[in-house]
Amino acid sequence: MSARVSFAVAWMLSLGTMASAAEVNLYTTREPGLIRPLLDAFTAKTGVTVNTVFVEKGLAERVAAEGERAKADVLMTVDIGNLVDIVDRGLAQPVKSATLDSAVPAALRDAEGRWFALSTRARVLYADAKDFADLKSIRYEDLADPKWKGKLCLRSGQHPYNTALIAHHLVKHGPEKTEAWLRGLKANLARKPAGGDRDVARDIVAETCEIGLGNSYYVGLMRSGRGGPDQQKWGEGIKVVLPTFEGGGTHVNVSGAAVSKNAPNREEAVKLLEYLVSDEAQGIYAKTDYEYPVKAGAPVDPLLTSLGTLTIDTVPLTEIARNRKAASLLVDKVGFDH
């Protein structure tokens, strides 16, 4: 009996040490299904197990509460605002890595190495494929033009993808013009702002509206047929244009990561980040998720290149992140979602 107990104890202990030998804990606001292929490839290559928890809302609060003994090693988000927020709360630690610094352009990472973008996505125009007149040079500002009255579909103004775009507009044009722009957008809405970006494509195909905004990778996900024939029909039923800001470029957002301040497995955490910007991983980002890689020269999926040449606007991401609260308040002020 006692032998059995001691065996059980030894087994449990060995489990504990085995697990702690090579593992990294990933807290993510990004649905893990999307990055599963990347994590599996990382484990296959390095033997480091990746434990994940998907915390869509409240990731920062949880890490902050766990404090010194937090299990979190890598914190991953899909919006620049949330990423910078983690840094602002002092939950990230600086990382010095020649690999990371050379792979990620300076504009897409923190100067002190507290956050790194891993992939980028553009906020693009979805439009009715049947009516594709002079949209080639459309600007974000034009979406408030009354000629689109009753023809525009958007997801909630409070969704980070839209808040970031509105914050970008704020940096470009200031609060008054942004408020007027938002009121214009609201007046043009064909339906309540709700659902996701894919719903925008579906509603365009359903002739509920003619134009709308969505992230670039959804186009790839829909058109590839990976989501089934219905989604493929939506993806193929829309034309996609890369809009720009007046005299500027296209709005992009990022998915990115930071190493947690109290990371118990710091070494593995850095290893994971370095892997995620390797040629192989950046290729997977492009191929399975249809994202734009951050690493210069990494291949872009043909489904994405077919959308046109992406010219990223020059406003720094951190500037956009700083304005997201003001943007969110403006959305409420004009009653955008009501």
Binding site: N25, E31, P32, G33, L34, N51, T52, V53, F54, V55, E56, K57, G58, A60, E61, R62, A64, A65, E66, G67, R69, K71, G81, N82, D85, S156, Q158, P160, T163, R191, K192, P193, A194, G195, G196, D197, R198, D199, R202, D203, V205, A206, E207, T208, Y218, G227, G228, D230, Q231, R324, K325, A327, S328, L329, D332, K333, G335, D337, H338
Partner: protein, 507 residues
């Protein structure tokens, strides 16, 4: 904005109260007062929508009613129209649609207690009214409805709290309720104090709800005589009247359960045929059962003592305990979960300091990031549900029973355990069922507090929805509904009101 969100919330709740109240009470009366072919089936079937969470019914109907979905496509084909632009039905992303959908899955909260009341208690009075020559309409209006008021109030209270705390359906359907606004403020502006302010507003709504509910239940004692309660003699409906009655009763079952479940089954079927079974489905189902099961057990035991506390520790403190137990139900899940983070961290800190002082070792976190945190959150959140059920069960027992136990030399506690508890099983079971289903469906706290590598069916589905592929979550959604069915079936077996029908002449 606060006033807008408050208006939307009040309109939503008022609408849901009307839909759930009318459907729940109407159906309870239908199956209790009338006999018609198919009634026994209907009696049970009316509980089925209880298994469908609000966010699932919302996304099922979003697909079904979309201009590209089966309903409108079929209509167009029928009318010979070609493009989806030729037929414009009102968009489902609206407040009225949200009210209807929530009402359709929340009415069982009203149906369940109201039906039990008609069945178990009201028989004598209702038959007295009948024998005095009152017609069915008059019996319902003047006797049944006033009698049922406390049950209806109890059920509506539960249904409206669910509606208030819903986040998925409102988000899908573009209704900006206070709860949605809490998230927007918190997540987009990192403004926890601002979010807390809005949460306070929603708490105020809850207090009003509780007030109305207490008023609705107010001042009515439910102690019955010690003899076994007698079920109501049913009026027989024949021919067309019977068919109409069955059709009326089946309508909410079809809309609240059959249609969305059939849709999920079809979607899940085509997905599984195309992509195979989702890999992690089994472990997610197990996770759901495990955490919801543990929480249910704890909540029922604690709920029993909370409900019995007026008898155990005196009316004043006991009453306070009962109210305290119900507090968690009023909090939005996310607010509760965030609020738990700090105490859990403190508990962890205290424990590790203690073990360090005693043994010189620092244990891993035992609260935060473990299953304990999740179970604790569930118990706090849903303790009110099990307490309420036990309270109702205790109130239904003849008072003489507790007194008898005491005259036999037992204390209040002994009387509870030995004399009252055996009579309470049905109430405990129905409380357990409600808690279990609530835990299995719970989303915000589960999302925030669950341990590494743990997914439940609900978080899986939310993950799919988060990346806009909720159709891929159909299998998980179907399983949530099936998990919800298990306790519904249990309820049917255990509730004496349901069991009794086997002993009655067929009706």
């Amino acid at each position: 904005m606060l006033p807008d969100a408050l208006t939307q919330t009040v309109l939503l709740l008022a609408g849901v109260a009307i839909v759930a109240g009318v459907v729940g009470t109407g159906c309870a009366w239908l199956v209790s007062a009338y006999a018609f072919p198919g009634r026994r089936l209907l009696d049970v079937a009316l509980l089925l929508p209880l298994a469908v969470p609000t966010y699932i019914v919302a996304f099922a109907y979003l697909d079904l009613m979309h201009p590209l979905g089966p309903v409108q496509s079929g209509l167009r084909a029928l009318l010979g129209l070609s493009g989806p632009g030729d037929l414009r039905l009102p968009d489902i992303r609206s407040l009225p649609a949200c009210v209807l959908l929530l009402g359709l899955v929340l009415y069982p909260y009203v149906y369940l207690p109201t039906r039990a009341l008609f069945r178990m208690q009201a028989a004598t009075l209702l038959e007295a009214a009948r024998s005095l020559g009152a017609g069915p309409g008059r019996v319902f209006r003047s006797v049944a409805l006033p009698l049922a008021r406390p049950a209806i109030a109890l059920g509506l209270g539960l249904a409206l709290m669910e509606a208030l705390n819903d986040i998925g359906a409102a988000e899908f359907l573009g209704v900006r309720t206070l709860t949605v606004q809490v998230y927007a403020t918190w997540v987009n502006r990192t403004d926890l104090p601002g979010a807390a302010q809005i949460a306070l507003a929603s708490l105020a709504v809850v207090l009003v709800l509780i007030g109305v509910e207490r008023w609705g239940r107010g001042g009515r004692g439910y102690a019955t005589a010690a003899q076994r309660p007698r079920p109501l003699e049913r009026r027989r409906l024949r021919g067309t009247a019977g068919v109409i009655a069955l059709g009326l009763g089946l309508l909410p079952v079809a809309l609240g359960f059959l249609v969305p479940a059939a849709y999920l089954a079809r979607e899940a079927g085509t997905r599984i045929a195309r992509f195979g079974l989702p890999e992690r489905l089994a472990s997610e189902a197990l996770g759901t059962l495990l955490y919801a099961g543990a929480a249910t057990l704890a909540a029922v035991v604690l709920g029993l003592f909370a409900a019995a506390s007026p008898a155990l520790v005196g009316r004043r403190w006991g009453g306070l305990l009962v109210r305290l137990a119900g507090l968690g139900y009023a909090l939005p899940g996310a607010v509760l979960a965030i609020g738990l983070l700090t105490p859990l961290a403190l508990a962890d800190f205290g424990l590790s300091s203690l073990t360090r002082a005693l043994f010189g070792t620092t244990p891993a976190l035992v609260g935060l990031g473990t299953g304990t945190a999740l179970v604790l959150a569930y118990v706090i959140r849903f303790l009110g549900v099990s307490t309420g059920a036990c309270e109702a069960g205790l109130a239904r027992l003849p008072r003489s029973l507790g007194d008898a136990g005491r005259t036999l030399g037992r204390g209040a506690f002994g009387a509870l355990m030995r004399v009252q508890l055996p009579q309470l099983w049905p109430a405990l079971a129905s409380g357990a069922v409600l808690v279990f289903v609530d835990c299995a469906k719970e989303l915000p706290a589960t999302l925030l507090l669950r341990p590494l590598n743990v997914e439940t069916l609900a978080t899986h589905l939310y993950g799919e929805a988060a990346r806009g592929t909720y159709e891929d979550g159909a299998a998980a959604a179907l399983l949530i509904v099936l998990v919800g069915l298990v306790p519904v079936a249990m309820l049917m077996r255990l509730d004496p009101a349901f069991r009794m029908r086997s002993r009655l002449p067929s009706a």
